[in-house]
Symmetry: C2
DNA sequence: TATCGAAATGCAACATTGTTGCATTTAAAT
DNA sequence: ATTTAAATGCAACAATGTTGCATTTCGATA
């Protein structure tokens, strides 16, 4: 996987410490992270607006992607263009509330009603993750 | 389909005008509706808190269900227990921004990684609806 | 390396949605 | 008609998203 700085350069984005840090934190995480979780793991103290705009830029450039569970729960993970994986489903654990990309669960092919065209799909699966289902 | 008042009775819920109105508006709509869209179609002027709690109660009793597209866009539609349909996918039109239940698009059977258990699935399909794709 | 313009940042302010506590009102059982 | 548990309205607040604008910083160029 490429380095954060390198990724920013490839997309002609300024290499600021905020953007670099966000990418680095997300890359080193095993689950998708929320804005506050990412802030906690960053040394610099950035303004919320800056954070928000950085996420927006990174999403627009397909460096990270945004996963929304219900509403009010927003998480970020590396995008397919960086990981070289396919479009995938997301798993939300009802117990530990962690969100993971299910790289091996390929999006199903669907037949839409006549006249409908598809551009995007979002599949959220809720349940218990392997760690939490062991504890029960 | 049963009448709103009757549905409330079946769930041992008080038949208040707010709840009755919400169900009536949702039943007569062809698409899922947001809180503000439902308010516009109701005569009574209810407090936001009351609205919020009414939705919560109706969702908990599986009379309506909540559909979240991205975040910040929350819509409601009748639940399967009322419509007698199966679990289904939802369609969001990027053009007219309407949300529809795709009753004929059955949720796909998925194979999760070992140790993961499934309790719920949400499938949102984005694209152009039949009306909007005709116009282009 | 110094300069400069465009882009990013920080701050203030605000909108929307979700949420709780509490006093008041209402539904519906008696 | 009375009574009580539930629903409502109000106030207040939290979290997230959003915009405008002055300031700072990146990085291209001289």
């Amino acid at each position: 996987m490429r380095q954060p700085i390198e990724i920013l350069g490839l997309h002609n984005l300024k290499r600021t410490s905020c953007r670099e840090g966000i990418i680095r934190v997300i890359m080193s995480a095993s689950t998708a992270l929320s804005e506050s979780e990412i802030r906690e793991r960053l040394e610099g103290n950035y303004d919320r607006t800056t954070f928000y705009r950085s996420f927006k830029t990174l999403v627009e450039n397909k460096i990270i992607h945004k996963i929304v569970v219900d509403n009010q729960l927003v998480k970020y993970a590396l995008d397919n263009s960086v990981t070289h994986k396919h479009e995938h489903a997301h798993f939300y654990c009802n117990e530990c509330e962690r969100v993971q990309c299910l790289d091996d669960v390929v999006m199903p092919a669907l037949k839409l009603p006549t006249g409908y065209t598809l551009t995007e799909m979002e599949l959220i699966i809720k349940g218990l993750c392997n760690q939490c289902s062991c504890k029960n």
